[in-house]
């Protein structure tokens, strides 16, 4: 019971902080969004030049460092990696492309639903469908092989990079890009965002909260532990939005969202399938990267590159809708996921084993 109350509290605080971050200046229904925030960071570094989405988001830095600090204190920090890093890199690019066609990572999907955005309910249907496809391959033996223990320095580097990003944000040298309008210009004060990230990062390290694992474990093992976290994010953000009068139910004119149901569904299906293959959603990958998991650090870099590709190639959606390039990319990404799923399952090795 103690274990379950931990994840319920973690989910509740994420939901509550998400609403408060919007209150303090973050874009609507975007208190936390790992995809959007890594995309904004990619923009600030000049990896893409979409002028409205450029800002080094302290929430991401906080998540990584919160997880790093707590895992170091409770001796759970463990530097490890080497489990198919290039495959994970490619999978992460796919997850980011899917998320930016939908306009949000799975965590923002929950927050969008809590704000009354019904398009995100369509996204959730896609997300669950994608997870089910991933589970099919897990049951066929899909795995990315084992990881290995590495030197401590290897695990420290990703948290150190995040300290560097924080320094860049505070110093704000002229070679960085910061949006003057649009979502990239909407942000809570740095210290509030950083504190929220640190607290949530530590709590998520302790409770293992994962938005993709929630549905996966429920279907695969009838284990509702992670689902309790998922649902308490939704409940807390919903209550918070109702209290602050930010709950606006409907499909049309939702903040930083489009109404194209098919592509909301398919974008999130990619994110769900890819997240199951990666072993966790983008949010969970940030926490694992803070714990010294360098496969998850590779995932973070894949998400960053995926964001740059999405905006440089015109794949990302906007409030105006989906782009033709984005639709083609989603099709290609499904083929990539299918190939990776198939090649790492027992379809190929079965004959060899028997």
């Amino acid at each position: 019971m103690k274990e379950k109350s931990g994840i319920i509290i973690t989910g509740g605080i994420i939901g509550l902080f998400a609403v408060l971050l919007v209150y303090f200046g973050n874009p609507a229904n975007m208190g936390f969004c790992v995809a959007c925030f890594i995309r904004d960071t990619a923009g600030a570094l000049g990896l893409h030049r979409a002028e409205v989405v450029q800002y080094i988001r302290p929430e991401i830095i906080g998540l990584v460092l919160g997880s790093f600090i707590l895992s170091s204190m409770n001796k759970e920090f463990s530097s490890r990696g080497g489990s198919s890093p290039v495959t994970r890199f490619v999978l992460s690019i796919v997850v980011m492309i899917g998320a930016l066609v939908f306009l949000g990572c799975p965590l923002r999907m929950i927050l969008r639903i809590a704000g009354g955005d019904f398009n995100a309910v369509v996204g959730l249907a896609g997300f669950i469908s994608g997870i089910c496809v991933g589970i099919f391959f897990l049951n066929k033996g899909f795995n990315l092989k084992r990881s290995y223990k590495l030197t401590n320095l290897e695990g420290y580097l990703f948290p150190a990079i995040n300290v560097g990003l924080l320094a860049l944000l505070i110093i704000a040298p002229a070679f960085l890009f910061f949006s003057k309008s649009g979502p990239g210009a909407a942000s809570a004060p740095i210290w509030i965002s950083l504190a929220a990230g640190l607290i949530v990062g530590a709590l998520a390290q302790k409770s293992r909260l994962c938005t993709a694992g929630a549905t996966r474990d429920l279907i695969l093992f009838r284990d509702n532990y992670l689902m309790l976290g998922f649902l308490s994010i939704l409940a807390a953000a919903l209550v918070g939005n109702l209290v602050l009068g930010k709950f606006n139910p409907g499909f049309a004119e939702q903040p930083i969202a489009h109404t194209d149901g098919l592509w909301n569904f398919l974008g999130m299906a990619l994110a769900g399938w890819g997240s199951v293959l990666l072993g966790g959603c983008p949010f969970r990958q940030m926490i694992l990267a803070g714990e010294g998991n360098t496969d998850s650090a590779v995932c973070a870099i894949g998400l960053l590159v995926g964001a740059a590709i999405s905006h440089n190639f015109g794949l990302a959606s906007s409030a105006k809708g989906v782009t033709p390039n984005g639709q083609i990319a989603v099709g290609i990404c499904f083929l990539i996921l299918l190939a990776i799923s198939w090649a790492n399952s027992e379809f190929l090795s079965k004959n060899a084993q028997s």
Binding site: E76, R146, G213, R216, R222, D223, G279
Partner: protein, 68 residues
């Protein structure tokens, strides 16, 4: 007692491997895990499947012994 080694495997492999092994060895198995997340997940799965579980720690890994 059959022993399975889940060291280095990422989520949800340790639990999947445990589930598969328990389907074949219904009396019980030993599962080696190398991190607290996998320990918690495998422990929860074994208990919900109706096994009593003993945990031994050695050299940074844990052995979860499931018995009927």
């Amino acid at each position: 007692m059959k022993t399975i080694d889940t060291c280095g495997m990422s989520c949800p492999q340790p639990v999947l491997m445990t589930k598969k092994a328990l389907n074949e060895e219904k009396d019980g198995i030993d599962v080696i895990v190398d991190n607290n997340t996998a320990k918690g997940n495998v422990l929860r799965f074994m208990k919900s499947a109706g096994y009593s579980v003993e945990i031994e720690e050695k050299d940074g890994t844990f052995v979860l012994k499931a018995k009927k």
